[in-house]
């Protein structure tokens, strides 16, 4: 790899290498507020390579490579190199992680207790975590909630928040421009812009906390709070986990403990103000 950098987020260190300088510089800029890695020995290596030799120079096209890869991953434009790097980091965690049970979920903490929000893409879990973080909650992650099978705690993994389309304008209106990465327009998921977590979230990225509430948010529906049965939640969370099967018995124990011990609900919301009010209401009702 001609160019490389190393970043640590919570318990994991990534080495990101590339045939080109631009994606590595973009990663360095996005993670400029994160402390330097304590060790340069990475847990995962990401490589952003030319899809074909000529594609290093002519219409540069990035293939996502690394310790773990998906053979059908489509090469992306070099202009979207930062997104390629972020996707590749997600892929390493999703396919390679064995220490933690991974839930595709966002998580925020207040008063020493964690709110986990999980749902499909478009449910608003990233946007809600960013909004809650701007209202005094500690941001712990918007992509993966890392459940420690030994303790049941949620381990922070506060990567920059991947804001999409309308959410970009909403957050830009609330926070200083220095908190945002470059706008990457016309990606496969529309416009994407990364929001850098605040200093408190980064400073506390090695501090786990116990889960206190699990929510399944759904955007675009009339306001509603619905109970979710434990067995339904168990099945939905196995589907939301990228490594439940790989963890075997440890994954079963961790998920069963989470589902049995933590209150679970679903919220439907037509707009973010409603969602935040619902979160406040449910959080205040916790024992």
């Amino acid at each position: 790899m001609r160019h490389s950098t190393t970043v640590t987020i919570g318990p994991r260190t990534f080495r990101i290498g590339s045939d080109w300088r631009a994606p590595v510089d973009a990663v360095d800029a996005l993670y400029r507020d994160y402390p330097a890695p304590a060790s340069l020995i990475p847990d995962y290596t990401v490589r952003l390579e030319a899809a074909k030799f000529a594609r290093r120079l002519i219409r540069p096209s990035v293939a996502i490579c690394g310790d773990y890869t998906l053979p059908e991953a489509v090469p992306q434009s070099l202009a979207h190199g930062l997104i390629s790097a972020e996707m590749a980091m997600n892929l390493q965690m999703a396919l390679g992680e064995r220490r933690f049970l991974l839930l595709h979920a966002s998580s925020v903490e207040k008063g020493g207790k964690v709110l986990i929000m999980t749902g499909e893409s478009g449910s608003g879990k990233s946007t809600l975590s960013a909004l809650l973080a701007s209202r005094g909650w500690r941001f712990m992650g918007d992509e993966f909630a890392l459940i420690d099978p030994l303790t049941g705690d949620v381990c922070p993994f506060p990567r920059p928040i991947s804001l999409k389309n309308e959410a970009i304008g909403v957050m830009r209106g609330m926070l200083p421009a220095t908190r945002f990465g470059p706008l990457q327009a016309d990606t496969a998921k529309g416009d994407i812009c990364h929001l850098i977590p605040d200093d408190a979230a980064i400073a506390a990225m090695h501090n786990p906390a116990p889960p206190a509430l699990i929510l399944f948010p759904a955007y675009g529906l009339p306001c509603d709070i619905r109970p979710v049965g434990k067995s339904e939640a168990f099945v939905r969370l196995t589907q939301a986990s990228t490594n439940y099967t790989a963890l075997g018995e440890a994954g079963f124990d961790a998920l069963a403990r989470l589902v049995k011990n933590v209150p679970i609900g679903a919220i439907d919301y037509p707009d973010t103000d409603t969602a935040l009010a619902l979160v406040d209401e449910l959080w205040a009702a916790l024992p």
Binding site: G229, S231, T238, T245, G248, E249, F252
Partner: protein
């Protein structure tokens, strides 16, 4: 001809959730979400190898069984054998 004896495929873990239970099957690594009476059947088998009549008697000691319990139990056991959670011999 039906099997003469039944044994649970060990090890397994059963966790009661709401109306359903989650079962982790150690031999396959598979998770099953099951309704009653599956957890009760596996618990009654424990580590033993039992005939249908012996299993029925063991369940009858703890639960009120219907007159057609034997046929129902036989059908459930066939399903559990198909899932790999019970071994029939």
């Amino acid at each position: 001809m039906g099997a003469s004896t039944y044994a649970a495929s060990l090890p397994f873990k059963s966790v009661a959730l709401d109306g359903l239970s989650a079962i982790y099957h150690g031999a396959s690594g598979a998770t099953h979400v099951v309704a009653e009476p599956v957890p009760q059947i596996l618990e009654a088998l424990g580590g033993d190898t039992l005939t249908l009549a012996e299993l029925l008697a063991r369940l009858g000691a703890d639960y009120d069984l219907d007159d057609d319990a034997e046929a129902g139990l036989s059908a459930r056991l066939d399903e559990l054998v198909a899932l790999g959670l019970v071994i029939a011999r």
